[in-house]
Amino acid sequence: MTTQAAGPHGGDHGRGRDRAGQRRQPEVHLLRLVPGDSFVHRLWAGTRVLVLMALALATSINASWASIAICAAVVGGAVVAARIPLGAFPKLPGWIVGVFAAGGVVALASGGAPYVRLPGAALGLAGLLDWLRLTALAITLLIGSFLVGWTTPLSELAPAVSRMLGPLRRIGVPVDEIALAVGLAVRCLGLLLDDLQMAAAARRLRRPRAPLGARAAVQEMYDLLVLAMVLSVRRAREIGDAMEARGGLPKVVSPGRAPGRADAAVLAALVLSAAAIIAV
């Protein structure tokens, strides 16, 4: 599933970048499997999700540099083990890098121990280090969730949800409906993104340069939202009919394959890493 940031409004506001209408189009790949047969790929889908959640939870309890390092080592190790090529990593849009850099400058200005002695003044690094700590943690967890997407075949997601949430059936949570909706959402996300990309392209053709003024920009964004919702409602009706034609929703979603020994080993290692993250 690919979408382009040049989407609905996609930088059409020009901002003096290129008056002729040319713009960078960073491509984003959502939920795309990086083919492979590493042990990360072979794990049960639920194991990967549990690892990610546990890492996020543990670093939320203790977010020291040492714990972030352990977390990064786990994620980095898994990325290497899964043989993810560098090309799979999304290219960050320039403005996000800019925001991080600006934040770093402001954080540096807040000073605090430790100090580095420069000719003429002492520069306090505490603020900058705090800022870097947050950035490092955010990037680590983001890569972790990308990794789950890169190594999980989409068809395994709904069964894994059904198995993981299974116990909640007893307290009346509609687990099977949720699992069905996950499967359907996975199936439809790509269709939706394709539609949106086409609609955005059509808009560019009709009006290559964005209208001036916030009001017109808001109006356009709103038109696109309405279009997306109209398309979504129609798609939902068609798929609803298709499901009705197959006898309605199934009562139970198959829980798919069960976790195996490798999963048990990974989860045991996870408990240790999480304990280490909290302890250091």
Binding site: T2, T3, G7, A20, G21, H29, L31, P35, T59, I61, A63, G87, A88, A109, S110, G111, D130, R133, L134, A138, L141, L142, G149, S155, A158, P174, E177, I178, L180, A181, V182, L184, L191, L192, D195, M198, A201, R203, R204, L205, R206, Y222, L225, A228, M229, L231, V233, R234, R237, E238, I239, G240, D241, A242, M243, E244, A245, R246, G248, V252
Partner: protein, 710 residues
């Protein structure tokens, strides 16, 4: 504002069992607790997708916060149109997906959006104003989210310390910078407040969270109210939902079935969609139903699938048993909306109890998909998807298989494959098959052919006698006009208007998903020339269309219009997509045609006339009330009004009946006479010959043939 009253007026009876039937205000507790209907579940999943799509977009765009605020709106629509159970299911499914897309942050955002959507939707349903909705949602959703946030940061010290430290660091940095430029004085009181707030985080964080939720809630309300009104206007009215007779008891016996004087009128519709139909369908055999757009074919299918006619009777020995073993199966028009599973095998077994699918491989073999069980359905072509849908239908061993224009979106090869499968089912497997089509030639393989016009059956008989009625060939007049125009305007002396020089396109270059779409394409188009590009699905013709329109800069080579790069001249080349609805942004034809440019009414009227739509009738129609063919012509009118140098049309004739085909063909001929070049991209060799004087064939991303047409 008619946002939540699907039950009123038009939608009432139609909506009784399909999607969106619930007038939520009237939903009893009993219904609140009952399982979701297929349409509800589908809408929950798709609206969750939309919410996630908007959040991702928000991360990618510089003014993304506004887009992210809109991410709640689809969930509000879900909450207004359906029960809170649907919102719960949609939000949780969305949160699961969000985890894989962008991590924990987006999971939390999605969960908060769901909670806020419920609160705002309550305000909209009860017709509260902005202030009341905001205040109430601040206290309900806002306080819930605030408490959840407070608990989270209270039990997670790492998260709390890190977040508070960030706020402190950023504030101190700004304060220090202000001090250096001598502006610290006015910021002094703020500083005191920030320090207090960070010290007493247990109070400041929840209060700030609740207030932020209130602000987003107000924004959401302001966007959602008009959006819902437009959504309702666009999608309300008669939706011929499928009706299952699952709740009735009795044996299943879909055939033989006999319609006696049967008719159906959608609630509020001016005329009946189906009237006085007498038709009998026996055990086994292939019946073809042929008719133009709006002839009542689809309604006939729904009546056969179990919809009660509003007049006349349907005589069967049992019930239709939609989707049940031995009952009725339906395959619809849009391939990608038919297939529900993520992989071929999963789709085939969808809805069946685990292990109930016997002989899945044999079924795939039967429809020519043998050995493809592990493929993801998103990689299948349209023809493969339709054959998979047929296989899934067959997994229930139906007595009656209804094919509602299942071939309309397919290329000739895909269409032939599907028709072959349908014919084999009827003869070798003793299934009664009813195939609906607007293409008379498809009736040739049928044992019985039925023609329909304006809701009535106009002929029943053996195919050779009937197929003559309403054939889709072009009239002689327009054919002559087309060819004449082509001859006269084919010039070679002037430099080409549009030129591709060894163009190559690689999608997702540099990633593991890199895929070459075009290689080494050389192409030139002259003023007034008519070019036809022939290619199968996946041959690279869509990528070519994007390059020709300047929407995609070639990865290699050059694409030039009048000597300058095409991608710097977006808008000079018009492009009509296969799916016209994606190009229609406004509600009515007149507002659509005047959008994006300051055209006077005279221009709009003229461009409508040029595509064969009577301005008096069409100007004020809603675009969603038009048929697919009419929508496509409105798109074309919009392109003509811009006076483009070149017009590119992707499958302009797919799903059009013969009269619509004729007007589009004539409009293109007139366009070429005025000097505009036309490029028609098609997989349809027969129609394509009427719209150009030169034809190139593209296969595997390369031009394999370039030949003049006589």
């Amino acid at each position: 504002m008619l946002v939540n009253r699907r039950g009123e007026g038009q939608g009432k009876a139609t909506a009784a069992a399909g999607a969106g039937e619930r007038s939520v205000g009237a939903a009893s507790t009993d219904r609140q607790r009952s399982a979701l209907a297929p349409g509800e579940l589908a809408e929950a999943a798709i609206m969750a997708d939309l919410a996630i799509g908007l959040q991702v977009l928000g991360w990618l765009l510089p003014f993304g916060a506004a887009v992210q605020a809109m991410a709640t709106v689809p969930l509000v629509a879900l909450a207004v149109r359906h029960r809170s159970r649907a919102v719960l299911v949609g939000t949780l499914a969305g949160a699961t997906l969000a985890m894989l897309v962008a991590g924990i942050t987006m999971v939390i955002q999605t969960a908060m959006a769901g909670a806020l959507a419920l609160a705002v939707a309550t305000g909209i349903r009860r017709r509260w104003g902005l202030v009341r909705t905001t205040v109430v949602s601040t206290f309900t959703a806002g306080s819930t989210i605030a408490i959840a946030t407070l608990v989270t940061i209270a039990v997670l010290p790492g998260l709390r310390k890190l977040s508070l430290a960030q706020v402190m660091v950023i504030w101190r940095g700004l304060y220090g910078m202000a001090g250096r430029v001598g502006a610290a004085g006015p910021m002094e009181p703020v500083n005191t407040w920030v320090v207090v707030a960070l010290r007493d985080w247990w109070l400041s964080i929840p209060v700030a969270t609740a207030l932020a939720v209130g602000v987003v809630g107000a924004l959401t309300w302001m966007v959602a109210v008009p959006t819902l009104a437009r959504l309702e206007a666009a999608t309300g009215g008669s939706w011929p939902a499928l009706h299952s007779d699952r709740h009735r008891t009795g044996a299943i016996a879909p055939v033989p079935v006999k319609l006696v004087d049967a008719g159906f009128r959608y609630p509020g519709a001016a005329r009946a969609a189906l009237e006085g139909v007498n038709l009998a369908i026996e055990q086994a055999g292939l019946t073809a139903v042929v008719g133009g757009n709006g002839s009542g074919k689809s309604t006939l299918v729904r009546v056969l699938a179990g919809l009660q006619p509003t007049s006349g009777t349907v005589e069967r020995e049992g019930r239709a048993g939609l989707g049940e073993p031995g009952g009725t199966a339906v395959v619809f028009q849009r391939p990608e909306s038919q297939v529900i599973g993520v992989t071929v095998t999963e789709d085939l077994g969808w809805g069946l109890a685990p292990g109930a699918l016997g002989g899945g491989d044999a079924l795939l073999d039967l429809v020519g998909l043998g050995g493809l069980g592990d493929l993801e359905t998103s990689t299948l072509s349209g023809g493969q998807l339709q054959r998979l849908a047929i296989a899934a239908a067959l997994s229930r061993r139906p007595g009656l298989l209804l094919s509602d224009e299942s071939t309309a979106m397919l290329d000739p090869a895909g269409r032939r494959d599907v028709m072959t499968v349908l014919a084999r089912l009827a003869t070798e497997h003793r299934v009664s098959v009813l195939h609906v089509s607007h293409l008379p030639e498809e009736a040739a393989v049928a044992s019985t052919a039925v023609t329909m016009e304006e809701g009535r059956v106009t002929g029943v008989g053996y195919p050779p006698e009937v197929a003559v009625v309403g054939t889709g060939q072009l009239g002689d007049r327009s054919r002559a006009a087309v060819l004449g125009a082509g001859e006269r305007l084919r010039r070679t002396a002037v430099p080409p208007l549009l030129e591709l020089r060894s163009v190559g396109v690689v999608h997702a270059a540099g990633t593991p998903w890199s895929r070459r779409a075009l290689a080494d394409v050389d192409l030139s188009v002259d003023r007034g020339e008519g070019l036809v590009v022939l290619g199968r699905n996946g041959s690279g013709k869509s990528s070519l269309a994007w390059v020709l329109a300047g929407l995609r800069k070639p990865t290699e080579g050059m694409a030039l219009l009048g000597g300058a790069p095409l991608h710097r001249q977006v808008g000079r080349v018009g492009l009509a997509f296969q799916q016209p609805r994606l190009q229609l942004f406004r509600d009515t034809v007149v507002s659509e045609l005047s959008w994006g440019r300051s055209s006077d009414r005279a221009t709009i009227v003229r461009s409508l006339e040029r595509v064969g739509l009577e301005p008096a009738t069409y100007l004020d129609r809603r675009v969603d009330a038009l048929s697919g063919g009419e929508q496509r012509r409105v798109v074309l009118a919009g392109i003509l009004a811009r006076n483009p140098a070149v017009v590119v049309l992707d499958e302009p004739f797919a799903g059009l009946d013969s009269s619509a085909t004729e007007s589009v063909t004539a409009a293109l001929a007139a366009l070429r006479r005025s000097g505009t070049a036309t490029v028609v991209i098609s997989h349809e060799e027969a129609t394509a010959a009427d719209v150009g004087c030169r034809r190139i064939t593209i296969d595997g991303g390369r031009v394999t043939r370039d030949e003049p047409l006589e």
